[in-house]
């Protein structure tokens, strides 16, 4: 379970965060939410699909790391073997939370929280959050900047998904994978860009998608499918 508290200089002065990548630190996730702003980096390593939040049924784009629950095929003895790690993974143990603030446009203000029950939290090893003079360290500054990007990413995802649904550009798919040992694995519950519908859009719609910054993201998601093969190969390699 998580135990998020507001991050404070006094309360968390001596806190450190372990940045190593391992199952012990909760990195054994099958997939993680991603955002069009990082699609360029994500698609170079991972397939990008779409899935539903089980709590709300709302769609979000997600980067696939494994073929079953709790499986991350990029995790090795030496850490996370990929050129890019998605922001929603890098954010831990921080979270962007909201405080009521009448001066802010939505009546709420984003604030930084930290999960005190996260196994990354330490007092002995890892990156410190604050300097001797109580200033945020570069590590904390970088983490906050990730949170800010995630905050913008959530907003961007909303419009992106709405547009995809409106244009019927998402479709469910089931991936049947036969591994080298002959076992059949089924990946279901994921959605992908409906390419047939995409190719039938008219010029004005493409223009709209382009202006909103969605067009590139759509094609990056399509291109990312080529990362599925290497993912399956990783799984096959484990069978040996």
């Amino acid at each position: 379970m998580s135990n998020y508290v507001l991050l404070g200089t006094n309360a968390h002065k001596d806190l450190k965060v372990i940045t190593a990548r391992s199952k012990n630190y909760g990195d054994n996730v099958m997939h993680a939410m991603t955002f069009p702003m990082e699609f360029r980096d994500v698609q170079s390593s991972y397939p990008i699909f779409f899935c539903k939040d089980p709590e709300s049924g709302q769609f979000y784009p997600t980067a696939l790391f494994g073929l079953e629950q709790d499986q991350n095929l990029f995790l090795t003895e030496d850490g996370w073997d990929a050129a890019y790690i998605p922001m929603m993974i890098r954010r831990h143990p921080f979270l962007i939370g909201y405080q009521a603030d009448s001066e802010h446009e939505d009546g709420k203000r984003p604030v930084v929280s930290i999960d005190m029950d996260n196994p990354r939290i330490s007092e002995s090893e890892g990156e410190p959050l604050f300097t001797e003079s109580d200033e945020p360290t570069d590590y904390l500054k970088a983490s906050i900047s990730v949170l800010e990007s995630i905050h913008r990413g959530h907003e961007h995802n909303k419009g992106f998904i709405e547009t995809l649904l409106e244009l019927q550009l998402l479709e469910a798919f089931t991936l049947e994978v036969t591994l080298n040992d002959g076992s059949n694995n089924q990946l279901s519950g994921f959605y992908t860009i409906a390419e047939q519908n995409l190719h039938q859009l008219d010029g004005d719609t493409f223009d709209m998608l382009n202006k909103k910054g969605y067009l590139q993201a759509i094609f990056m998601a399509v291109a990312s499918h080529s990362r599925l093969r290497p993912l399956i190969e990783k799984k096959n390699a484990l069978l040996k």
Partner: protein, 527 residues
């Protein structure tokens, strides 16, 4: 309309759920705005609604068929849930029907596990002392007892884990249908009173004289005017056939009761609780419960019926709710017209007939009638009589089967606490077809061939649920049968599969209320 002229225009009289459902189903199949393109004509659909007559909601429970009906019309399920105060219905939970005590059983919408290939009923009978039939063969039974939903927020619109229909506010439903029919499907809506009917020389209806829109002419007239049956009954004089000799209930006392707490569970079944001379329905909508007593006026008085209704409300809601309940009396004649399609007029809804809502047959009959009209819409007048005859044969058969199936609930009861229950088992009150079937089922469990039609309203699975839910016993076969042996060899595995699926569903399905609240907040996805 001469005999070879194309049928171009349909006029529907009446704007309740029957009228708007019929309009929507026909308009969804035939473009309804009467325009012409590529030499093909669109059918024009006009609905004439009296501004002076308020509609009475026939039934607030639907069958699962309503999902595909609405989907074909292009209505979003999210809109239905949000706009019609709708909740999910997984079947009916019958209480006190067997003995009058605390007995309860379900008739779920999902057929028994593996029903297409294996008859589990005889296999279950060996364990009938340990587990109820519905629990052994259906994972929906457990969801119904726990007020759980048939799907999750991530399940797309109209898709499901367990089959379902709806409970809804009939008035709001008619309004949603009206908006959709007029706004999206091109149905013309006229608010006018029908003053008289203009006939052509051959006796067909030529047009309706209205008070505010002059003469409204059409090629086919659909009578959705309610039990008054303005066209089929009053104008054409097609006689009414009472079925009161089989089904005694002829009066309903209806009330709407708010929940005690805003987060009280919303039942995901229609609750039907047997009384001394009738039964009480209890239908959970998100904002209120519809509770009513339908009874036989020949067996009890209005006062006694009201007392039983208030006692039920006191026990299941609160004494305060009973004290402030406002009760509306709705008398009705159980039965139907001798035929439904006469000349160029067809009756749909209460104008065709009405029977107690024990299995919520009112709205599904509207759907089935409108769907057949839409599908078999005669191209011209000369073939209309052929379609009419087929329509009449089909729906007379359906009424007979509805009466059989409803009556089945009564004749299996062990209740002897009133003349009502005693009279219900007297042989003169049981249709011959039903007597024969029940005799047959003493020796063999209902199975696919026991029902005559491919589009049967109550398949043999429904008969199984009611028979074995009521404690009916079918004798074991005394001879060796290959199908029994085969069923025996797979039964244990199927029972186990069902138990595992039940466990999974119990752990993963939200409550009916949780799901409805999520749909209100987020909506359901279309995919």
């Amino acid at each position: 309309m001469t005999s070879s002229e194309n049928l171009k225009s349909i006029v529907i009289v009446g704007g309740g759920t029957a009228g708007w459902l019929t309009a929507g189903i026909i308009a969804a199949e035939h473009s309804a705005n009467g325009s012409e393109s590529d030499g093909l004509i669109d059918i024009k659909v006009t609905l004439v609604e009296s501004p002076d007559i308020s509609t009475i909601g026939v039934g607030e429970g639907t069958w699962p068929s309503m999902r595909s009906t609405l989907q074909k019309m292009g209505i979003s399920e999210t809109d239905l849930i949000r706009d019609c105060d709708a909740s999910f219905k997984q079947g009916t939970l019958f209480k006190s029907w067997k003995t009058g005590g605390n007995d309860a059983y379900t008739h779920p919408f999902t057929p028994p596990h593996s029903y297409a290939s294996t008859n589990l009923a005889p296999q279950w009978q060996r364990f009938s002392n340990e587990v109820s039939f519905a629990e052994a063969v259906s994972s929906q039974n457990a969801l119904m007892f726990k007020d759980l939903a048939p799907k999750q927020i991530s399940t797309p619109e109209y898709a499901f884990h367990t089959n379902y229909g709806y409970h809804l506010d009939a008035g709001k439903f008619a309004e949603l249908l009206r908006k959709h029919c007029v706004g999206k499907l091109g149905v013309t809506h006229l608010k006018a009173n029908v003053v008289s009917i203009n006939s052509s020389a051959d006796g067909d209806i030529e047009s309706l004289k209205t008070d505010s829109h002059g003469d409204v002419s059409g090629d086919l007239f659909v009578d959705c005017s309610g039990s008054r049956a303005l066209l089929l009954g009053e104008h054409f004089g097609v006689p009414f056939c009472s079925k009161g000799q089989f089904l005694f209930n002829d009066t309903a006392l209806a009330s709407q009761i708010p929940y005690v707490n805003a987060d009280d569970p919303i039942a995901s079944s229609t609750l039907s609780t047997a009384q001394t001379a009738g039964w009480i329905w209890d239908i959970g909508l998100p904002t209120r419960r519809g509770i009513g007593h339908v009874y036989s006026s020949g067996h009890t008085t209005e006062d006694r019926a009201a007392q039983e209704l208030l006692a039920y409300i006191t026990a299941t809601v609160s004494p305060e709710a009973a004290a402030s309940a406002s009760i509306r009396k709705v008398p009705f004649s159980p039965g139907h017209r001798a035929k439904f399609w006469h000349k160029n007029c067809v009756a749909v809804g209460m104008s065709a007939g009405f029977i107690e809502p024990l299995e919520a047959s009112a709205l599904v009959l509207v759907e089935l009638s409108a769907a057949m009209i839409a599908e078999q819409l005669p191209a011209n007048r000369q073939i209309m009589d052929v379609v009419a005859k087929r329509f009449n044969d089909k729906f007379l058969y359906r009424w007979d089967r509805i009466i059989d199936f409803l009556k089945l609930h009564y004749i299996l009861s062990q209740r002897q606490d009133s003349d009502y229950w005693k009279d219900n088992i007297s042989s003169s009150s049981v249709p011959d077809n039903l007597s024969e079937l029940v005799k047959l089922w003493r020796w063999q469990a209902p199975w696919h061939r026991d029902t005559g039609h491919i589009d049967e309203m109550f398949p043999s699975a429904s008969y199984q649920y009611v028979l074995y839910g009521m404690g009916f016993v079918t004798q074991d076969s005394t001879t060796v049968r290959r199908s029994d042996r085969e069923a025996h060899s797979v039964a244990e595995g199927l029972f186990r599969e069902n138990a595992e699926r039940t466990k999974k569903l119990l752990a993963s399905m939200p409550t009916n209320r949780e799901l409805i609240e999520k749909i209100t907040n987020y909506g359901l996805q279309k995919i």
